[in-house]
């Protein structure tokens, strides 16, 4: 199969690079750091090319390498004390409070509407532009926990160990992150598409 020559794989690395950068950016929130992590992952992928078993899932394998690189960078950042403590980000709950009335019911203008079928949304470039923009707009710690959970697929238990927070705190952060994201995406995607 032509797909499995080293040259074909190099081409596939070039093709997949923008998506790797976008993925790394969600976690590291800094373009040059994201590009560095991707560069390291691509270099590692090329070096270890011989150890790739062939068959299928080459891009998945490369994504796997990138995930390790990202975790390494995050751990290093944490060790160097570059992270704000996660506990005290109750500073700006406004985007969440705005969605609910005092009694806990939805505000009229914040009531969720239908986003249609996931598959249709995922095929829509505009959806991904809005999704990425809304991820970037999240507060740092919310974005970090959300991306570890939903993009990296770590359990909240693992995230707590990684970040040194309590699991309950993790769930609170994820709840807020999801509410912020849903409001942001609904505003950016549905309302613009409709107009």
């Amino acid at each position: 199969m032509t797909q499995d020559t080293p040259e074909a794989r190099h081409r596939r690395l070039i093709d997949v690079r923008p998506r790797l950068v976008s993925f790394a950016l969600m976690h590291l929130r800094d373009l040059s750091r994201a590009e560095d992590a991707v560069q390291e992952a691509l270099t590692a992928a090329l070096e270890k090319d011989g150890s790739f078993a062939g068959r299928s899932g080459y891009e998945t394998w490369v994504f796997g390498i990138l995930k390790y690189k990202i975790l390494d960078v995050m751990r290093a950042q944490k060790r160097q004390g570059k992270w704000q403590p996660l506990e005290d980000e109750g500073d700006d709950d406004e985007p969440i409070e705005r969605q609910f009335q005092q009694n806990g019911q939805w505000q009229k203008d914040a009531r969720p509407s239908s986003w249609g079928e996931p598959e249709a949304a995922f095929e829509n470039d505009h959806f991904w532009q809005v999704f990425d923009a809304c991820m970037i707009a999240l507060p740092d710690s919310a974005a970090r926990v959300f991306s570890l959970r939903e993009l990296m697929g770590l359990s909240t238990d693992d995230i707590c160990r990684e970040l040194g927070i309590k699991e309950n705190n993790c769930w609170v952060i994820l709840h807020r992150a999801r509410l912020r994201l849903r409001a942001c995406i609904e505003k950016g995607w549905l309302k613009e598409t409709a107009s």
Binding site: F63, Q105, R111, S114, A121, R149, E150, M152, T156
Partner: protein, 68 residues
């Protein structure tokens, strides 16, 4: 009767761990009566799938590979 904000907490929680019996029951009851929360639940589910989608390599080449 549980309010929408609390219901969204449980919807979010169940993306991260299995709900306890009582949590499941009260969420189910709320969702049966609240269409806005049913939409929110679908949106959380979509966010979860979007994360998986972003973290996987499933454009074009995958399909080529799946072809016999």
């Amino acid at each position: 009767m549980m309010m929408c904000k609390e219901a969204t907490r449980l919807m979010s929680l169940r993306q991260d761990r299995p709900l306890k019996f009582r949590e499941r029951l009260s969420l189910r009851l709320h969702l049966s009566m609240c269409s806005a929360c049913r939409e929110c639940d679908r949106q959380f589910e979509l966010l979860h799938k979007a994360g998986q989608h972003k973290a996987s390599a499933s454009e074009g080449t995958d399909e080529e590979r799946r072809a016999p």
